[in-house]
Symmetry: C2
Subunit: 207 residues, 2 copies
């Protein structure tokens, strides 16, 4: 953003910091900065404080890698969760999306990404070792019965799924993946060919 | 956003603070919060610091009302500016948009809004008194030759334009408005530089 000499440097620095956020272009950053300038001071400082507080008060859960305020996250601390059912996700936001359904009572493992040979992301860059160690350790107490591999329906997600299937098949009785098909509320005529193909291939009997 | 028990309270508070920003819905706020969680700590804290620093280091310019880091803003401090040519804008962002053309060498006056009888915004809610006093004070030294009323091409902007024309016609030799190259209903601050430039060049006397 070139504002010439029109803006104080502190405003320009905020515009610059805001435009580093994903999906925020220079004009949006400018609008957001001016909003934070005009809004009552406590509201602007609350946002600044919330960023610092989040960084100070969170860390990855020592068990599953989800964002947490203690050594173990709220889900891993929840004794009503089924330790034998493990859902593997790429990102913590995927976990949040599944939790929003309220239907899953197992535990999670966050990989922090997906395998991508093209981008040089191998198993060592992800929380793979932690997953294998966790499953091995559980075998002696409450063993994992099923691993649901909930990676994204993308080339990277599929590579990750195949890798995990190969590495886990000897350790875990049941390895499943999320069903692929038409999303609820979508129009069949607007679905892409790959989605339609998968939906046809994995069609079910109507009961 | 209902995340159930899935997220630490510090993350939920940040999502809440982010979703108060204009144009940021709950899902975008969630994405931004997780970006700020994963990004290197200095970058996240730089954003928090930039917000606080901007609030601590800026104030309205005592002359024109533009955002400033000193008593008078950079434009009002610039001695090469033409004090006899005054451009009245609704918002500081409109000023920034005009400055971006690099074509205007006069001074500004920021009203902090437009007249809107429907919303109960009268002259007393805007920086009108400051404008009139400023023009009166200038009359004794370097009088204002021309006032360009660069309000938005909107009903509120037009009401403001007519009010200013009426109030200023006895004080200022020439009162002009931005040429209507701007499409009706658009916001000046989103217009491209060429459109703004043409509107400046083709400004007309208000009759």
């Amino acid at each position: 953003v070139s504002n010439g000499a029109a803006l104080p440097s502190s405003v320009e620095r905020l515009i610059e910091a805001l435009s580093r956020l994903p999906g925020v272009g220079p004009r949006t950053a400018e609008r957001l900065a001016f909003h934070l300038l005009r809004t009552p001071e406590p509201e602007a400082l609350a946002l600044a404080g919330a960023i610092s507080a989040m960084r100070a008060n969170t860390r990855p859960c020592a068990v599953c890698g989800h964002v947490s305020d203690e050594e173990r996250c709220r889900i891993c601390r929840d004794t009503s969760r089924d330790l034998g059912l493990l859902c593997v996700v790429e990102e913590a936001l995927d976990l949040v999306a599944i939790e929003r359904t309220g239907a899953f009572r197992g535990c999670y493992h966050v990989l922090n990404g997906a395998l991508s040979p093209m981008s040089g992301i191998g198993p060592g860059q992800l929380r793979m070792k932690e997953l294998f160690e966790r499953i091995d350790a559980a075998a002696e107490g409450s063993p994992v019965r099923e691993v649901i591999i909930a990676t994204n329906p993308s080339p990277e997600g599929d590579v990750t799924l195949l890798y995990l299937q190969e590495r886990l098949s000897a350790k875990v009785p049941s390895i499943t993946s999320m069903a692929r098909g038409l999303p609820f509320g979508a129009d069949l005529q607007y679905a892409d060919a790959v989605t339609i193909l998968r939906s046809l291939e994995e069609r079910r009997g109507v009961e």
